[in-house]
Amino acid sequence: MTRTILKNGRIICPAENLDIVGDVIIEKDKIAYVGEKQVASEKTNSIIDCDGLIIMPGAIDMRVQSADPGREHLESLSDLLTAAGNAGITQVISLPATSPVVDSAVMIDSLKLRASSYSGALFHSYGAMTQALDNKHMAELGMMAKAGAVGFANSLKSVGDTLLMRRIMTYAKMLNKPVIHHCSDPYLSNETDMNESETATRLGLIGGPGVAETIILERDLNLVALTGCRYHAPHISAASSVEALRRAKNYGLQVTADTSPAYFLLNDKAVGDYNTAFRLDPPLRDEKDRLAIIEAIEDGTIDVIASDHHPIEMDKKMLPFGQASAGASGVETLLPLAFSLHHTSNISLFRIINALTVAPAEATSLPIPKLAIGEQANITIINLSSSDVIRGANFMSQCQITPFEHYLIDSKVVGCFVNGISVMK
């Protein structure tokens, strides 16, 4: 029996309300001990000195777009899971905008089967809420739910048809699965290049306002009140959306939300020299939006921090800004950038770890990640005092485009266990 001791680390587990210095023992694929007592090291295969390191439950990245199937040359599923595991992410949930689209039980089955033979992070999948993501016809949500879809998502185009959205929510409610809906008003955001702002005006780029996100979000929240559906608002970028979420949560709706590092660390000034690495969807917003997002993470209005990993070919980025595709690599920078909130914005480690573990599990009904005896040994180890610079060229992922090129970070993933196996390369 393999036995690993993580020795003398700072163990933080939000689900167990635990913040202690001690040891964690991994036996086979399970956690066999968590506690302050120093444990004996006989019959142990490896002892990892965690002095000064954070031991947390394995991170879940609930917003990852796999390029595979369809664009395997860009990033195969195997590469994605390896890169995620190496970056401290123990589980990813993949979005349905592949080719073919994940809109049937057979696609869910096939991806799950393939992923089960790869090492690295564990794999889960959303099903598409509409057939071929056409935003017109409801997909086979029931059969996908039976096959293991953890929720139903759309692409980067919103379902504009309110009646269809109502029916999708009503149907998803019957299946007790969340609807994860990218919100952008199809008219207000159509053909826009970036956030509507002074920068956009100066650059001569077409701007779309932050309320393009909020208008659809508000509509959806009204439908949630009507249908009782579980709803998750992904990659929230606008201050007005934060306000809408806050009201909905106060009202008691079953609503969760995520954002990704670009929206709490960058603003639209970054687009200043037409650098297409900053072309994202939703676009980078104003500084006041960024500050509102940070506040929302702190007070829990935004529950989850996710990478919004969306690999893009280099030749789709080496274009004039208005023609370039939106998206960037994200899994490999998620944890260091999320933990930067601790240093720069004084958000508690508990809150950040919750946003990376418990909150995404709750939003999607995955088992709550815990550091407790008998739990699956999915564990991430972080060094919070290790400065480094992000370099896309160092990514394991084939997609090395990041809006955080040369960004200074002060934490580093130093260990990651998935079902008891170390997946750091």
Binding site: E140, L141, M174
Partner: protein
């Protein structure tokens, strides 16, 4: 089990007498009248070869169908003819409506021809009521939009009663496209009034939560919904509703809500199957079940339709006299 056991008691049952001139729905029909209609229909059903052709002699019945129908139209036609009435079939969908005539104009025109009874099917809920307010004839609703189909509910009740001997206390699941079903609404009133424990089973997109407020429990899980039910009544689901609008696809509908022998095991051991027709085989019901004469009451329903409509036509003529 399964085959109807006709009540051989041929004691003459008198014509049902109604307090209202028209039969527009079950919702406000007094229970005494419902029972009288069922008894009289049972009497007719027991004598399929007997002659009743004097009952409606000299009466003119117009079958006015604004929507296509075969079984209901033919059933009313046979009923009227067995009672000796003159009958005319008018299919409106192909004639005046296309020329822009309103329903009230059509009513006025027909009224001028002095018919006695109008049997009306219309695609709009409430159309027979509107028509009844503009004609002198008595009106029987043969199905209006998503509202009611009273004679279907009566024949369903008669089918159950003749097969199981009772309706009170039975657990009856009505399954499928409830929102768009007039059969579901009429049966909800009728079978509940007769003491059955009626529930709806449907995908959440095809059943309004307000049915619970009306007092009918709603289930969105088929196995849970039909558990222990003695009668499982399947409704037709129009295929165009299953193309990603109200339900994702036919195959998903069949998998989740189609009645097959696996799901049927959850019902009561000798559960019987009903369907108002026409069936979508392989969508809402597996052919093996639909065609199983030990389980399926579907042909009995069709057969009893004539006797039921005879009782209704006779009763309505009685009111007029």
């Amino acid at each position: 089990m399964g085959k109807e056991t006709p009540n051989e008691n041929l004691t003459p049952v008198t014509a049902a007498s109604l307090s209202k001139k028209h039969i527009l729905g079950i919702e406000n029909m007094p229970i005494l009248e419902i029972n009288a209609l069922l008894e009289r229909a049972n009497y007719f059903a027991n004598q399929p070869k007997a002659t009743f052709s004097t009952i409606l002699a000299n009466y003119t019945v117009l079958n006015i169908f604004f929507e296509n129908s075969t079984r209901t139209r033919v059933s009313f036609e046979l009923a009227a003819k067995r009672l000796g009435a003159s009958l005319l079939n008018i299919s409106i969908s192909g004639s005046s409506v296309k020329k822009g005539e309103t329903l009230i104009d059509t009513a006025t025109t027909l009224n001028a021809m002095r018919p006695d009874i109008l049997v009306v099917r219309h695609h709009s809920s409430g159309a027979p009521l509107l028509l009844s307010q503009h004609v002198d004839a008595a009106v029987i609703n043969a199905g209006d939009g998503r509202h009611e189909h009273p004679t279907q509910a009566l024949l369903d009740a008669l089918t159950i009663k003749r097969t199981l001997g009772r309706i009170a206390g039975l657990k009856i699941a009505i399954c499928g496209d409830i929102n768009n079903s007039r059969v579901a609404r009429s049966n909800m009133y009728l079978l509940s009034a007769l003491g059955a424990d009626v529930r709806f089973v449907s995908p959440s997109t095809l059943v309004s939560p307000f049915f619970s407020d009306i007092g009918i429990p709603v289930f969105t899980d088929m196995e849970e919904g039909i558990a222990g039910c003695e009668i499982v009544m399947m409704l037709r689901l129009q295929t165009e509703r299953m193309e990603g609008r109200e339900a994702p696809s036919q195959r998903e509908y069949f998998q989740l809500f189609g009645l097959d022998s696996y799901k049927l095991q959850k019902a009561a051991p000798d559960a019987l199957i009903m369907h108002p027709g026409p069936m979508n085989r392989g969508v809402e019901i597996d052919s093996k079940i639909a065609d199983d004469n030990n389980k399926s009451l579907i042909s009995t329903q069709v057969e009893l339709g004539v006797a039921t409509r005879m009782a209704c036509l006779e009763a309505i003529a009685g009111v007029k006299l």
